[in-house]
């Protein structure tokens, strides 16, 4: 077997395993069947083990070949309409950016699968958790290794849905569900920005090849030939997409909300992997940032603002998961700054290191008090706890304002709600009223039976 055949076989395992896992865990519930807990967890661990081994194999092959250029695995042309040059490609790219991140993803997912098998035991939504976990695994794997815009979008969508449903995992309570919807909304806007960028690329250049954005030649030395004006327009949309995925300002509000989900999912999705997807995209598109310095400046400023918001808000949080969420936000802001400064390997290492540390912290979060006790016993004294997190040179009034600002998470959600969401909905509510008047006029009586539908139905009252 030559190197090429070995690579194709291993890449197939890396890509196909999560897809099969998703099908295996997703189809039976459609037919009304349920897998046992042991089967769901065991199959997940098996698939991850196989995929991780295959990825390590690819890394060894890639390293031993000394190839500078990325290796591309063309699964197939999913759809081909030659007459109009429409190709929908499933393409995976293996280089020194995607391989380490994919190994990290597989490794952390394996860790979480093992942790969750016990942590989620006898939880009513055990199978649901592992199904969503499989969807996330497929999504993150596809997004990280994506070699075409279509593949990347496919991965992003899967990550988005699985994340939203996991945030809303404890669905009997309304707060997680509302937060899940919030996460989904931000992700959809980010996805829309990404798709618009891709569509504009297609319109302006006549082709939608990923290489037009990510550059030709191996990462990080790739270069693009896009005209500066076009690169700026497309780059701005890509930055919006990345900001949405990585909770950069002004989309930072979703991250602490996402902590409503089960601890294993919070750890892997928002502490470790999901949160880095936006910065990973920025790294992948680094040739675009080099082509237009203004884009790099924008990334730098967004990173700076995010780091400031994360740092200040994190100081006043009263629960450990929220504090960790803002700590993640601060680090992501710093990673964005590094990318904006033109660094390439440092942000990659920063992402990997941060992901590992945060996963550990989040997984230990439920036993934080016990860990503190152990620590204090080992030290033989209390761990020092600064009461005032603000600098002494600020006046008491300024400290209070800053405290309030941190407590309100920089008012980012409030501003978005007040300036964007509410006016948007108000316009359509007004239209709804206008339609009501029109149909009442034509019907010559109140035209909406739906007005009589009460918020809580009679039957539900009875059920309660």
């Amino acid at each position: 077997m030559d190197r090429n055949q070995a690579f194709n076989g291993l890449a197939f395992l890396v890509a196909g395993g999560p897809a099969l896992l998703l099908a295996a865990l997703g189809l039976p519930p459609l037919l009304g069947w349920r897998w046992s807990e042991r089967f769901a967890a065991g199959l997940s661990r098996l698939v991850i083990l196989v995929g991780l081994t295959a990825l390590v194999g690819i890394a060894v092959l890639f390293w031993s070949s000394g190839a500078g250029e990325a290796w591309v695995f063309k699964a197939s042309d999913w759809v081909v309409l030659e007459e109009v040059h429409f190709h929908f490609r499933l393409e995976l790219i293996f280089d020194w950016l995607s391989i380490p991140f994919a190994i990290l993803s597989y490794g952390l997912c394996g860790l979480i699968a093992s942790f969750a098998a016990n942590y989620m035991h006898r939880e009513p939504g055990y199978q649901r958790f592992f199904f969503l976990f499989a969807m996330f695994l497929l999504g993150i794997n596809t997004a990280v290794l994506a070699g075409s815009i279509e593949t990347l979008f496919l991965g992003w969508e899967l990550v988005g849905l699985s994340s939203a449903l996991l945030v809303a995992f404890f669905q009997e309570r309304i707060a997680p569900v509302d937060n899940g919807l919030r996460v989904w909304s931000v992700y959809r806007i980010a996805d829309a920005a990404f798709l618009m960028g891709a569509a504009l690329l297609h319109h302006l250049t006549g082709e939608g090849e990923f290489a037009r954005l990510a550059g030709s030649g191996g990462w990080p030395n790739a270069a693009i030939s896009l005209p500066e004006g076009q690169a700026l327009l497309i780059g701005l949309l890509m930055i919006v997409a990345a900001a949405g995925k990585s909770a950069l300002v002004p989309f930072s509000g979703w991250l602490p909300r996402a902590m409503e989900g089960p601890t294993p999912s919070s750890a892997i999705f928002y502490g470790a992997l999901s949160i880095h997807l936006g910065t990973y995209l920025l790294l992948r598109l680094s040739p675009l940032l080099e082509r237009v310095p203004a884009l790099a400046w924008i990334v730098l400023v967004l990173g700076l603002l995010t780091a400031v918001v994360g740092s200040l808000a994190g100081r006043v949080q009263s629960d450990v998961k929220s504090a960790l969420a803002f700590a993640s936000l601060t680090q992501v802001g710093l990673i964005a700054i590094e990318i904006g400064l033109g660094l390439r390997y440092l942000p990659l290492l920063h992402m990997i290191g941060h992901a590992c540390l945060r996963t550990l912290q989040l997984l230990r979060a439920p036993t934080l008090l016990r860990d503190y006790q152990l620590l204090e016993n080992a030290l033989g004294r209390h761990v020092s706890n600064r009461r005032n997190p603000w600098p002494a040179w600020l006046s008491a009034d300024q400290q209070l304002r800053l405290y309030r600002w941190g407590l309100e998470r920089g008012y980012l959600d409030a501003i978005l709600d007040r300036r964007v969401v509410r006016p948007f909905l108000a316009i359509f509510r007004w239209c709804d009223q206008a339609e009501r008047k029109w149909t009442d006029l034509l019907s010559r009586r109140p035209s909406r039976e739906s007005d009589q539908v009460r918020p809580t139905d009679e039957l539900l009252k009875e059920l309660r």
Partner: protein, 535 residues
């Protein structure tokens, strides 16, 4: 014209028509349901056989063997082409599944005879290319819902006003277009009336209120069956696209594009389940029109694909919501109902069908939407971006409604609310098609693309006046191009178009070309419009 091996089309249409007479005489609702199911399944088999037969013929168009209507009228009134063949199967399938998914407790209120007649009219609409017959059938098709509203003593003002205007505009429009010469003022007026009729029937804002009103007052199932096949879009393809000049197509792109955004926004603020469903449907149905009227092979193929995807997925979504509603009555979206524990299967099906409608990966809508955006953005960049935005908003609306229905505080109940096997089977069949085609979309998209090519040939070839069929200077005409390898002519064509466009613009020709001279005054084939009229 090629012949099918059997009179499949007549069989598929006559069966429900005659069946309506039989079912009308049955007093037991349960027996009537069984009869209806049997008749609809036979009709479904007929349409699927027609599709299969047609595919094996590899013809552009085919009609029934031993054609009774041909014998009576001397004309091929019913025929099948690549565009309509899958739509017939789709319509039959939706009819069958709607009846299959009807709860036994609800069948007393269902008019099975009326449903069969509607089904027969629908099948006849999708089987004909004869303009006057199509106009007549579209007129007839608005009657069953009206009768149902009257029988239930519901207000008909909104429905009757809008669809009354549709009928008047449709008949007057086609009468003027077919009865007057090109370039005449009345010819132009007829074209305008036809476009407005299509916008009315498709529920394009602000002419859409009949659809929300229908769902307010008519049964959920029959309303789904009336709107999801998108007869308005069919009228657009058969009556407008082949002959419409550029200005009308632009109107038919912009109005649906704005409707798509408007309906997506409206879906987000609805407080009741049915109204939410209508706006979601309107948003998607408008996207279909955008694709159809963009009139480039890619966009048209995208439009046809989204048509099929939307009909399937939203019918599945609608049937799932109907199952929920049939257990709880009309459902408010103002609070959370916590139904997941009571009906987990319906929750999963609701999510799958809802996400399929917004083009989630792995479903039929994903690649279809991609193709549509890809096709539209070349010609109308802003419209392409608006489609993306509408899809994003619709995605938010779908998940919001899923959360409202199935999450929230749990309730204990002594009544079993789980989906019955027949209901599950109905939606599962749709889900199987949605996911099956989503995972392996190539044959489906290739078929839609060929259908789009044939439709554009109709538009670019026979229907256009000779002066507009001529290619601009430097560009080989269609016959010359077909004689050569397509790829060979591609660079020549592109270069020629650019040169020709510049030359025409310099001569002030564009000023003469753009204004409306008459309904049939088209502006050349799709390729010529692409180059000269790009936004």
């Amino acid at each position: 014209m090629n012949e099918l091996h059997f009179p499949w089309l007549e069989l598929a249409i006559l069966l429900p028509l005659l069946g309506a007479l039989v079912v009308g005489g049955i007093k037991s609702a349960e027996r009537a349901r069984y009869w209806t199911l049997g008749i609809l399944s036979a009709s479904l088999a007929g349409t699927l056989a027609a599709w299969l037969d047609f595919s094996r013929l590899q013809a552009v168009e085919a009609h029934d063997r031993w054609d009774l209507l041909h014998w009576l009228t001397g004309r091929d009134l019913l025929s099948l082409d690549e565009f309509s063949a899958p739509l017939l199967g789709l319509l039959s399938l939706l009819g069958f599944l709607t009846v299959l998914g009807t709860l036994k407790t609800k069948i007393q209120r269902v008019s099975f005879g009326g449903l069969l007649i509607s089904q027969a009219i629908g099948l006849a609409i999708f089987s004909t290319r004869e303009p006057w017959l199509l106009v007549g059938l579209l007129t007839l098709s608005v009657l069953p819902p009206l009768i149902e509203l009257l029988q239930r003593e519901k207000p008909i003002g909104v429905y009757a006003t809008h669809l009354g205007m549709f009928v008047v505009f449709l008949i007057a429009g086609w009468w003027l277009v077919s009865g007057t010469g090109e370039g005449e003022w009345w010819h132009y007026c007829g074209g305008v009336l036809l476009v407005v009729a299509v916008l009315l029937r498709s529920g394009v804002a602000p002419l859409h209120c009949w659809m929300t009103d229908l769902f307010e007052h008519a049964p959920f199932g029959s309303s789904i069956l009336f709107v999801t096949p998108m007869a308005g879009a069919y009228a657009a393809v058969r009556l407008v696209v082949p002959e419409a000049p550029e200005w009308s197509l632009k109107l038919l792109v912009w109005a649906p594009m704005l409707t798509s955004l408007y309906a997506a926004g409206m879906a987000l603020v609805q407080q009741e389940l049915r109204r939410f469903f209508v706006y979601l449907f309107l948003s998607h149905a408008s996207l279909v029109l955008v694709g159809l009227e963009t009139a480039t092979p890619e966009a048209l193929a995208g439009g046809l694909s989204v048509w099929f995807a939307t009909s399937l997925s939203l019918a599945g979504f609608g049937l799932t919501l109907r199952s929920v509603e049939s257990r709880l009555g009309r459902i408010s979206l103002a609070d959370y109902h916590g139904l997941y524990e009571h009906m987990p299967n319906l929750a999963i099906l609701c999510l799958v069908t809802g996400l399929a409608s917004v083009g989630f990966p792995g479903t039929i809508g994903f690649v279809s939407t991609e193709l549509l955006v890809d096709g539209v953005i070349h010609r109308y960049p802003w419209t392409g971006l608006a489609i993306v935005l509408a899809a994003a908003l619709n995605g938010i609306a779908v998940l919001k409604v899923y959360f409202r229905l199935f999450t929230g505080p749990r309730h204990s109940t002594s009544i079993c609310l789980r989906a019955r096997p027949a209901e599950r089977l109905a939606v599962l069949l749709l889900v199987a098609v949605m996911i099956g085609v989503g995972v392996y979309p190539q044959p489906f998209l290739a078929s839609r693309f060929h259908a789009a090519e044939h439709l554009l040939e109709d538009r670019g070839g026979a229907q256009l006046p000779p002066m507009h069929r001529d290619s601009p200077p430097g560009v080989p005409d269609e016959t010359e191009r077909s004689a050569a390898e397509p790829d060979e002519w591609e660079p020549v064509l592109e270069a020629g178009l650019v040169t020709a466009g510049r030359a025409l613009a310099a001569e002030g020709f564009q000023a003469k070309w753009r204004p409306v001279a008459g309904w049939r005054t088209g502006e050349g084939g799709p390729r010529q419009r692409n180059a000269l009229d790009d936004d």
